[in-house]
């Protein structure tokens, strides 16, 4: 069972498949290195959750949490200075010079995506806009070993999802 969350940027989308994530943090490291983010702010963070059922069985879930570039982004709605806006690629773009560091975005973001570093102004995942313009996947997707993060065109991703479902269906029919 999987959950797909997609964020689009022009030609490509990022598929986040929670069921494949194993919490190895490779995406976080890749993101930090790609964007030179010092310790503190985490544009991408994989959060692990442990739950125990009545029988004592332990289940783990892993959530790669970055800015999801929401279609109806609450951060854009609450930003008092219009530092956040949707750009031509459909990404939630942050214009840091407009940010006043009021923290409003943080409190409405369901993903805890807004980060505050040394300068106490907001920073967050920009969706690897420039990499994608050069036909590269997002840094997090490029270095994800488990296929939990995949960056490709909607056509490729839908094909991927459909073929894996079809294989599953065929296997069940056997």
């Amino acid at each position: 069972m999987r959950e797909e969350i997609m964020m689009a940027a022009g030609e490509t989308m990022l598929l986040i498949d929670q069921s494949r994530c194993v919490g190895c943090h490779a995406c976080e490291t890749a993101c930090k290195m790609e964007n030179n983010v010092p310790p503190g702010p985490r544009w991408m963070e994989v959060v692990e959750h442990e739950s125990v059922d009545a029988a004592g069985d332990v289940a783990l879930s892993f959530l790669p949490l970055n800015c999801r570039h929401c279609a109806d982004a609450p951060c854009i709605a609450v930003c008092p200075t219009q530092a956040l806006a949707r750009d031509g690629l459909g990404l939630v773009r942050l214009e840091r010079e407009r940010c006043i560091g009021c923290g409003e975005c943080l409190f409405v973001c369901p993903f805890g995506a807004p980060q505050f570093g040394e300068d106490r102004l907001m920073q967050k995942c920009h969706g690897c806009r420039e990499r994608r313009a050069r036909n590269l996947p997002t840094a997090c997707a490029q270095y994800c070993p488990s296929g939990a993060l995949r960056c490709a065109t909607p056509r490729e991703l839908s094909h991927l999802v459909r073929t894996s479902r079809a294989a599953l269906g065929a296997a069940r029919a056997d």
Partner: protein
């Protein structure tokens, strides 16, 4: 080893044993595992810890640490009792089934449950599913990190043989091995001893007994060490004893990129260049592809490729003829690889390339032939029986469960004082002790933390994130507590590879021992067969007590 792009397309069930594919070698396997699961394959994981990959499994068996041999024998017995074994395969390609069953036959589900703690129904279900599917057995090192590790692996391998799950696409017993090295593809002898050179054969030191061996070696005694590409102190059991042994040396040289625990004790630190500045070769534990590493930078400052250092040392010791000055790392690689290997194709952007099939067939053992004297799988090992005549050790020809040293079953007296068993996993964020000094990694990992079962914590008045002292009569280590049911009661998890100088190193607490079968005594050996003699380091044979610091 059956390579994952083959098994992932054919297997119906993956039995992953002692193998945290979600952290160790994560880039090599997990994607293939998911591909197989998306095709409908079942996943059974045997691991005392709820690892990420275990959390994805259809069945998860959590034996008490070091009892895996009992579990495997119990599964074998159940399979045979239900007549789910592959009689035809056993007759044609194995020998010693009856001797195996003399041992395995004693392992009823009830007794297996008593020893391993795994519920009977779950053992039976896992055994039946394994036997009745086209099943791949994927072995890690987890169950081998005990003094009985060799017996455990023997038992697990026997499980695959009993079901005939060998040598078919999608059904095999995969053991972590660098296929390229085992199959003779990489001929290290040609590099260690260049053609024509007369270099004396040296003694061998067991990796598990490094500290004791340094002191024990005589005629001549060991007075100096040059160490590179590894951590002498951080990664060895009894890290403190290791430091004492190192202090007794006249001369210690470290070739390193960073100031590590080792360099702190070194007389000389030579700057190593990074992988970006030298030639290299990358085989794998888990697949059969190979990539050549091409330098993309000139060595910076005074650093030099390791091979240049060794070549220069050899020249100054009078072996100049065998170490031509114009040779680069690439020339040494040529020597290491078969003459007909297409070097250029293995380099970026063409590489990696698959290893030649004559070394690494896609479906090994497809013809039912094995590299044993009998050409069969020896469930009763004639080789062991024979080797027992030459070397002391635990050369049991059939697999048996024998309690492991320094475990609750193996040493109840010690366990009364130090009741908790430590399992030290490899974290996904480091490769052993590598990368532990990087700020990004330190941020992601946070401070050194041990996992404690909430019941064990409650009994000791320990709360989440309390600072705790993990100790035995050898040493102690101060870390933070993380209360989690990912570990079994009576078990503590403390990551391996933490640096001593940054805190939380587990090896300080471990007594140096060797897993069998061969008893290596003080660790100094004249000869050694790495496929037979075993003696991996039993890192998990460690009993401790924990208290709030």
């Amino acid at each position: 080893m059956q390579t994952p792009e083959v098994w992932s397309r054919h297997t119906e069930l993956v039995l992953m044993w002692g193998c945290n594919a979600s952290a160790a070698g994560i880039h090599q396997e997990i994607g293939y595992l998911y591909d197989a699961m998306e095709r409908g394959a079942r996943l059974i994981v045997v691991d005392p810890i709820v690892t990420a990959v275990a959390s994805k499994a259809h069945l998860h068996l959590r034996p008490r640490p070091s009892t895996d041999a009992a579990l495997a024998l119990g599964m074998i017995n159940h399979i045979v009792s239900r007549n789910l074994h592959d009689q035809d395969y056993l007759e044609r390609h194995t020998q010693g089934f009856s001797q195996l069953m003399e041992e395995a036959g004693q392992w009823t589900l009830e007794r297996t449950r008593e020893v391993t703690g795994v519920p009977e129904g779950l053992i039976a279900q896992a055994a039946e599913e394994y036997a009745t599917h086209r099943s791949l057995l994927e072995c890690g090192y987890g169950h081998q990190r005990y003094t009985n590790g060799h017996r455990t692996q023997q038992a697990i391998s026997a499980l695959a043989a009993v079901c005939g799950h060998m040598g078919q696409p999608g059904a095999h017993c995969n053991f972590m091995e660098v296929g390229a090295a085992y199959t003779g593809f990489l001929n290290s002898a040609r590099v260690q001893n260049p053609p024509g050179a007369d270099i004396k054969k040296t003694r061998l030191i067991s990796i598990s007994h490094f500290g004791p061996a340094l002191r024990a070696a005589q005629d001549p005694p060991i007075k100096g060490i040059i160490k590179w590409r590894g951590s002498l102190i951080t990664q060895q059991p009894d890290a403190r004893g290791m430091i004492e042994a190192v202090k007794g040396l006249d001369f210690l040289v470290s070739i390193d990129q960073f100031l590590t625990d080792d360099t702190d004790w070194s007389d000389l630190v030579l700057p190593a260049c990074t992988i970006f500045e030298q030639w290299g070769v990358h085989p794998s534990y888990r697949h059969q592809y190979l990539q050549l590493q091409v330098p993309v930078l000139e060595p910076q400052h005074e650093s030099m490729p390791d091979i240049d250092f060794w070549a220069e040392l050899a020249r100054r010791m009078g072996y100049e003829a065998y170490f031509p000055r114009e040779w680069t790392g690439l020339d040494w690689l040529r020597l290491l690889l078969p003459d007909d290997f297409p070097l250029e194709q293995a380099m970026h952007p063409h590489g990696p390339v698959r290893l030649p099939e004559r070394f690494c067939p896609p479906v090994p053992n497809w013809d039912g032939n094995f590299q044993t004297p009998s050409g069969k799988i020896e469930l009763y090992s004639g080789v062991y029986a024979e080797r027992a005549q030459r070397f002391p050790g635990e050369w049991d020809p059939v697999p048996r469960y024998v309690p492991s040293a320094e475990s609750p079953d193996g040493d109840p007296e010690r366990a009364a004082r130090y009741p908790l068993l430590v399992v030290s996993q490899h974290p996904a964020t480091r490769t052993h002790s590598q990368f532990g000094n990087l700020p990004y990694i330190q941020e992601i990992e946070g401070p050194a933390t041990a996992m404690l079962h909430p019941d064990d914590a409650a009994a000791r008045g320990i709360a989440e994130h309390d600072r705790i002292r993990i100790y035995n009569d050898r040493a102690d280590s101060h870390v933070l507590a993380h209360l989690t049911r990912k570990v079994l009661p009576g078990t503590v998890e403390l990551d391996s590879g933490r640096w001593i100088k940054t805190g939380g190193n587990v090896n300080l607490l471990i007594h140096p021992r060797a897993a069998g079968p061969r008893d290596v005594g003080d660790g100094v050996m004249a000869e050694y067969d790495m496929q037979l003699d075993g003696h991996t380091i039993p890192y998990f044979n460690l009993l401790v007590e924990v208290e709030k610091a």
